[in-house]
């Protein structure tokens, strides 16, 4: 099968090129693409949540913020390495998702969306009370904490340049690794027994229950796992940004609205959708960077247009038109049995 070799090859080349960027590209570009990769991680998570598990959350910024604050607490209060803090951030976000799921899963559709948003607001207001981490105005990572983090010296020896550039390169590589892990893990998950069950639930929850699939259990699992991924991404974002405040860490616009836009224009419920979406998003951002708020208006209009005229998004429409799906999530029937 030509396709079976070609696609991984193209992906491998793309990843290799992206990985080489800190060596060959400018620091500004590395910082730009760091943000793009992080948005892609968030988008891949949100797509699993909304596109596959049917959980349309507008409160994922809760887990970004919790992950970021947990990482800051680890570094500032307990003197841990930022990278350890990142893992802790993911775990704390996942732990928080358990009580959130307990309440939010009683709500459905629009009520679920509003419920998750309310949770994120509660988290933002609560962490604004944490005086040790700067309260409502926020705080910065201690001087040098990021530059002395695990791996930064090695990176600096590898690519040269300033300590700050080494931090940028390291966080960039981590973001790239996170994207790759998320893509492979999502693909494996969706092709697994649980992924199949999830797609059955998406099509018909009543019938799914009658063939033994437990919708709530699968949805809760996806909610937990995506909280972990989103939390880690939150920690990583704020290692690079270096400064945290409740408004920035729990930004609905940055960590959820943009992410929803990316997934919707790319193609919700498809695996490559978020990748296409983030490319479009980045291109628009570059094109419209000089126009201020007009940029947001244009984004909104494009989002509306896609929802009205190409509901499956760019990738979904492409598959529908051409019938070509290089990353099929389906299970083909065994060959020997096909003859009938």
């Amino acid at each position: 099968m030509m396709r079976k070799i070609l696609l991984p090859l193209i992906l491998l080349i793309a990843v290799a090129l992206l990985a080489a960027l800190p060596v060959i590209g400018s620091r500004a570009l590395v910082q730009d693409l760091f943000m793009v990769l992080c948005l892609l991680v968030l988008a891949l998570n949100w797509n699993l949540l909304a596109g596959f598990a049917g959980l349309v959350s507008v409160g994922q910024q809760a887990f970004v913020g919790i992950g970021a604050y947990a990482m800051f607490a680890c570094v500032i209060l307990w003197g841990m390495d930022p990278l350890t803090g990142l893992l802790v951030g993911g775990l704390v976000a996942m732990a928080l998702s358990v009580p959130v799921a307990f309440f939010a899963f009683r709500l459905h559709g629009a009520y679920f969306a509003i419920g998750t948003w309310a949770v994120a607001e509660i988290a933002r207001l609560s962490l604004g009370q944490w005086k040790a981490l700067g309260g409502g105005t926020g705080t910065s990572l201690p001087k040098g904490a990021a530059q002395e983090m695990w791996g930064a010296e090695t990176v600096r020896a590898l690519i040269g340049g300033s300590k700050a550039a080494a931090v940028d390169a390291l966080t960039y590589w981590l973001a790239l690794a996170l994207v790759v892990v998320m893509l492979i893990a999502s693909f494996a998950f969706l092709r697994s027994r649980m992924g199949l069950g999830l797609q059955a639930v998406r099509d018909n929850p009543v019938a799914a229950r009658s063939v033994g699939v437990d919708p709530t259990r699968l949805k809760a699992l996806v909610f937990l796992l995506t909280a972990f991924g989103t939390g880690i991404c939150g920690g990583l974002l704020f290692i690079q940004i270096g400064r945290i405040s409740p408004d920035a860490a729990f930004s609905l616009l940055d960590w959820t609205a943009f992410v929803i836009f990316i997934v919707v224009i790319g193609g919700i419920g498809t695996l490559p959708g978020p990748v296409i979406g983030v490319l479009v998003f980045y291109a628009l951002e570059r094109l419209l960077a000089d126009y201020g708020t007009v940029y947001l208006i244009v984004l909104g209009l494009i989002g509306i247009a896609i929802m009205l005229f190409a509901r499956r998004g760019l990738w979904g429409s492409f598959i529908q038109q051409t019938g070509f799906d290089p990353l099929p999530l389906s299970h083909a029937a065994p060959r020997a049995g096909s003859a009938n």
């Binding site: 027994r193 199949l196 069950g197 797609q199 059955a200 998406r202 099509d203 018909n204 009543v206 019938a207 799914a208 229950r209 009658s210 063939v211 033994g212 699939v213 437990d214 389906s330 299970h331 083909a332 029937a333 065994p334 020997a336 049995g337 096909s338 003859a339 009938n340």
Partner: protein
């Protein structure tokens, strides 16, 4: 011991009593038919057995074990399979995948065993040529077949069939009856709700008549069909 039994099961929707004190026992491998006018509570009875509805009173037992508080998922895993009156396919999944979900979850089969099991059922139900087709695009007969095939894929010991022959041509019906007889011959117990009487009586050994949620009669098909009250209520014929 009875494989499935209902003991004084009742269910009301508001003031309407849709299932009224129904009790019966199904022997292992038995085939039981259920008839009754529209609105008699036949499908509701199925929903009470599968756990989609909870009875207000009474117990549902499987192998002598009380399953009244179990979810549809647990009951499916314990061996109760069902088809829906209005086909409920997983429309975006292929026909094969529809069965694969059922085999992996309800049937409890491993990834290595499930494909052969599914293909075997697809061949037996005449769906093998549609295996990779999206289930949402199937015509009515194939949707009905898929309901049966998917229920079979969960490896049930009791299979509940809800008007699976309705709307089919005579030739299609004959084919379907042959499949159901084959399932029955393997020892699977069957409860079958059907308006197409000749199809039903060619399989079942006992017949139950429901009317206004109450069990009017249960017994040998000939005796039941000959009973004056059944002829009057169900067929609208003067005794």
């Amino acid at each position: 011991m009875a494989i499935l039994s209902l003991q004084g099961v009742s269910k009301s929707f508001g003031a309407l009593r849709v299932t009224d004190d129904v009790s019966f026992a199904l022997e292992p491998g038995e085939a039981l038919g259920i008839i009754g006018p529209n609105g008699a509570g036949k499908s509701t009875l199925f929903n009470l057995i599968t756990g989609n509805l909870r009875p207000d009173q009474g117990r549902v037992m499987l192998d002598g074990r009380d399953i009244t508080d179990e979810t549809p998922m647990q009951r499916c895993a314990s061996g109760i399979g069902r088809s829906f009156q209005i086909p409920q396919p997983f429309g975006n999944l292929s026909v094969y995948e529809n069965l694969l979900v059922a085999a992996r979850f309800g049937g409890g089969l491993a990834a290595t065993e499930a494909p052969a099991h599914c293909m075997d059922i697809l061949r037996r139900t005449g769906l093998a040529r549609h295996a990779d087709r999206k289930a949402g695009g199937l015509p009515l007969l194939d949707r009905k077949r898929l309901e049966l095939a998917r229920a079979m894929a969960t490896r049930p010991r009791v299979i509940l069939l809800d008007e699976i022959a309705g709307g089919l041509t005579d030739a299609e019906c004959v084919e379907l009856v042959a499949t159901i007889r084959a399932i029955h011959a393997e020892g699977t117990a069957i409860i079958w709700i059907e308006h197409v009487l000749h199809a039903l009586t060619s399989v079942v050994s006992r017949l139950m008549v429901l009317n206004f949620g109450r069990m009017l009669m249960i017994g040998a098909p000939d005796a039941v069909m000959a009973a004056p009250e059944v002829r009057e209520i169900y067929l609208g014929i003067e005794a």
